[in-house]
Amino acid sequence: MGLIGEGLLEALRRLTTGDPEVWQITWLSLQVSATATLVSLLAGIPAGAALALSRFPGRAFLVSLVNTGMGLPPVVVGLFVTILLWRNGALGFLELLYTPAAMVIGQFVIAAPIVTGLTLAAVQQVPEGFRLQMLGLGASRLQMTWVLLKEARLPMLAAVMAGFGGVISEVGASMMLGGNIRGSTRVLTTATVLETGKGNFDVAIALSVILLLITFLVNWALSLIQQRRPG
């Protein structure tokens, strides 16, 4: 108990004194995970909607792949993307390993299936009769999809929260792809692992509290949007 109390005090101290390193680490965590979530939305929403609205051979297989992808272990993603990004790897010429961009790619691979899968479920739960009615009233397919996504707004925001929550909290991929380099790729989760390894448990707890706090704030903001009554 004493240790957790010390950690909470340490968190408070670091936040109020404006420890520049803690702020930089927190800001980078937000930047990397927000970018990855955003790109996942750009890719996952159209992909999920397309999967929900189309019928083709092999669709069921593809849907199972997406659903499996929703639980991709971050370390596995980290390992495969690292091998791709190695200097001797297929994408080595880009020299991306150990940069924030590499972490964004890893987190994108983790979040995209989550967003795709939840979008798929959200769009599919809108009754089919509604879709047919819209098409019957002369809506184009694109217009219909847009209306459907708006109808599915609540579960869609859940997809955003799940995607962001999945990547801001992961450590395996960020550690391998970023390398936990001070001032460049150190984020809240990798810094927590490092401080635990150093035996600085109070600092580790402080970083964990900050991570929980910003995750809460982001989800709070998203929940406010989600629960807002139209009109």
Binding site: V39, A43, A50, L53, L91, E95
Partner: protein, 280 residues
């Protein structure tokens, strides 16, 4: 239709992202240092790396992993310079031509820690080898790193010299860093081999007194090695050599000598630039 546009958008976004990232860092001014967790965990590199960057204008990316992985990455050309602490393994890499110009930087020492009631009765034994034998004979619990780190390499070498194959319920492999391993040893009332710096850092959290120390095989020697440019197409040999030279520079060695005194009341490393393994 929607599927195709989604794919196009995904490709475009990823493309932009990759280009942004690549343009930001594709410079020969980056040196990748693969090193052991102990140099990072002790905080020494947090002092030395900014010094080097200021002096040379180069940027260092420190990848801190076990010594086994640090050397393996360098052998694949994924690093430019390596700071490690497993002399036998290092000499093997040098003999194979994958690493070059191995030079001693500093040393500290390993110690054998264990529960205060000392069930194997090893306290004060002068020879680590005898202590290892007694731990195995009494089947007292021992926590091994089990991760191909420099510490693990030394531990395995000691078991081998003692003619013991460590196996059984008493031998626990943590597969984790030194700090976590000490935590497990503390929890299970077990013995462990550790570098002195880590046990100093953890003295408030674990109740594991030092039982055996100051035996020649327990010397923990850190060396710097340059990566053979033939290991891979993008090895920054010049940057790697600059970092290796920096580690042996008199100014750097003076910083190493003073490091840790303010926090632990004693230095964590002894600088030994210019010496050979036999001199120690």
């Amino acid at each position: 239709m929607i599927g195709a546009s989604a794919l196009a958008r995904l490709a475009a976004t990823l493309g932009v992202l990759l280009l942004l990232g690549a343009s930001a860092i594709a410079q020969p001014s980056v040196v990748i240092l693969s090193t052991t967790t102990s140099t990072q965990d002790s905080g020494l590199l947090d002092v030395l790396v900014p010094m080097f960057e200021k002096k040379t204008g180069l940027t260092v990316k420190t990848i801190s992993v076990g010594t086994g992985q640090a050397l393996a990455l360098a052998a694949r050309g994924e690093a430019d310079v390596t700071l490690a602490h497993a002399p036998a393994l290092e000499r093997k890499y040098v003999a194979e031509g994958r690493m070059a110009n191995r030079r001693l930087v500093m040393y500290n020492d390993f110690v054998l820690v264990g529960p205060a009631d000392d069930p194997a009765r090893i306290k004060g034994m002068p020879k680590a080898l005898d202590a290892f034998k007694r731990i195995a004979e009494s089947r007292s619990r021992f926590v091994s790193r089990g991760d191909k780190s420099g510490t693990h390499a030394l531990e395995l070498a000691l078991w081998k010299q003692a003619g013991i194959e460590p196996k059984g319920a008493w031998y626990i492999e943590s597969g984790q860093g030194m700090g976590q391993t000490l935590g497990i040893a503390n929890d299970r009332r077990a013995y462990a081999l550790t570098d002195r710096a880590t046990v100093l850092a953890f003295q408030k959290r674990v109740d594991l007194p030092i039982l055996v120390e100051r035996d020649r095989p327990l010397l923990n020697i850190y060396s710097v090695m340059e990566v053979n440019p033939a290991n891979g197409p993008r090895v920054n040999a010049r940057g790697g050599k600059a970092f290796a030279d920096f580690m042996l520079d008199p100014d750097t060695q003076a910083v190493i000598k003073a490091f840790g005194v303010d926090k632990y009341g004693q230095p964590l490393f002894v600088p030994v630039a210019g010496k050979k393994d036999e001199d120690l």
